[in-house]
């Protein structure tokens, strides 16, 4: 109590002199913001270098309807991501990734509702909305697992490429699916960026789910009720919204453009 009182007195002299919060947010929340800012730089670097590498490759110039995969030019994304579970060989561009996007946005909405319930000290409400958020995250990750499998295994006619196989140069080599050195969709860089960008984002979703579970457990124990506030839910909420925000950008720059 004494320190608070002296801090208030100090504040009249110097807002930044210590003992109070000039930005009106707690230490933990401010540090979460700074962490997210630095994470935003990491993701920007990945996405911008995707742009650099894409612009330094040849683009497909013909009619989009006559598009075929080739290692000579960068693929049109909607021709690559056109699969949907249980419908083998049907061309439904971007629908599956659209569903994933929607699931992640909805899980962000349930997260804000959890924060709102936390402000009202409504433990039951926080539990309910946190659980929906965790479920949304798990659905998203499962969809991504399917998408990766589909991408790695590959479908349709193999693409003809020249490549080094075990140290020897093979011409007219048939490629189906994708790995880090060669893929059926386009230049090797295309699959590399797919794995790194969606993989790095997927890892963020994965850690988000773990942290959400931890916070959910603590909500259930009543830790935050005893503490008198649900700020931890707000902090993990910030992280979860950031993961959603990054996906909005990945969706645009990897799938749409």
């Amino acid at each position: 109590m004494e320190t608070t009182a002296s801090a208030v007195q100090n504040s009249q002299k110097n807002l930044w002199g210590g003992g109070m919060e000039p930005m009106k947010v707690s230490y933990g929340k401010l540090m979460m913001w700074f962490f997210l800012l630095s994470d935003a730089f990491t993701f920007s670097a990945l996405l911008v270098s995707y742009g650099l590498v894409r612009y330094s490759h040849a683009a497909f110039t013909g009619d989009p309807d006559t598009f075929v995969f080739s290692v000579q030019y960068w693929p049109i994304p909607e021709k690559v991501f056109d699969g949907i579970p249980f419908l083998h060989g049907v061309h439904v561009p971007l629908v599956f990734v659209g569903i994933m996007t929607f699931v992640l946005i909805l899980s962000s909405v349930t997260m804000v509702l959890a924060v709102e319930a936390g402000h009202r000290m409504d433990r039951k409400g926080v539990e309910k909305w946190m659980l929906w958020t965790i479920l949304g995250g798990i659905i998203f990750l499962s969809c991504q697992a399917w998408e990766w499998t589909h991408f790695i295994v590959g479908t349709g006619t193999p693409t003809i490429a020249d490549a080094f196989i075990n140290g020897t140069w093979v011409e007219g080599f048939e490629v189906l699916g994708a790995n880090l050195t060669i893929n059926q969709y386009g230049p090797p860089d295309f699959a590399d960026f797919f794995f790194f960008i969606t993989g790095f984002h997927g890892f963020h979703v994965f850690s988000g789910i773990l942290i959400n579970c931890l916070v959910f457990y603590n909500v259930g124990l009543g830790t935050y009720e005893l503490r008198g506030h649900y700020e931890m839910v707000e902090k993990v909420g910030l992280y979860w919204h950031f993961v959603d925000l990054v996906w909005v950008f990945v969706f645009t720059f990897f799938y749409l453009v």
Binding site: K24, V48, G51, Y55, I76, V248
Partner: protein, 108 residues
């Protein structure tokens, strides 16, 4: 502790105005995403389509950061602390797109 102490917690009623605002933002995000799909299926790719996508992305990002992450309601100094460093990202985009074009020219 617990039973006695925790039962003292008073649960306040749902803040209807706040929930309405959350739902409104969710609907806006849904509409923007649907609009992106309409554009993706009905327009041929080109600078105009790309600009529409980027604009829509910025709209979505604005709503997520300002409403969901609550940044709009924070102190101005915090808003600027987060916003100003993103200038570096804009610089990075311009620099690397330019550089990508240069690499393309030297290759083909």
């Amino acid at each position: 502790m617990s039973i006695d102490e925790t039962s003292k917690v008073v649960v306040q009623p749902v803040n209807k105005e706040k929930v309405r605002r959350i739902v409104r933002v969710a609907v806006i995000l849904g509409i923007v995403t649907t609009f992106e799909f309409v554009v993706a299926f009905n327009m041929h790719s080109g600078p105009l389509r790309t600009s529409i996508f980027i604009l829509m992305t910025i709209v979505k990002a604005f709503y997520i950061v300002s409403e969901f992450m609550h940044l709009k309601y924070e102190k101005k100094v915090l808003i600027w602390t987060i916003m100003i460093p993103t200038i570096f990202v804009i610089w990075l985009i311009i620099a690397l797109i330019y550089e990508g074009g240069a690499i393309y020219d030297s290759r083909f």
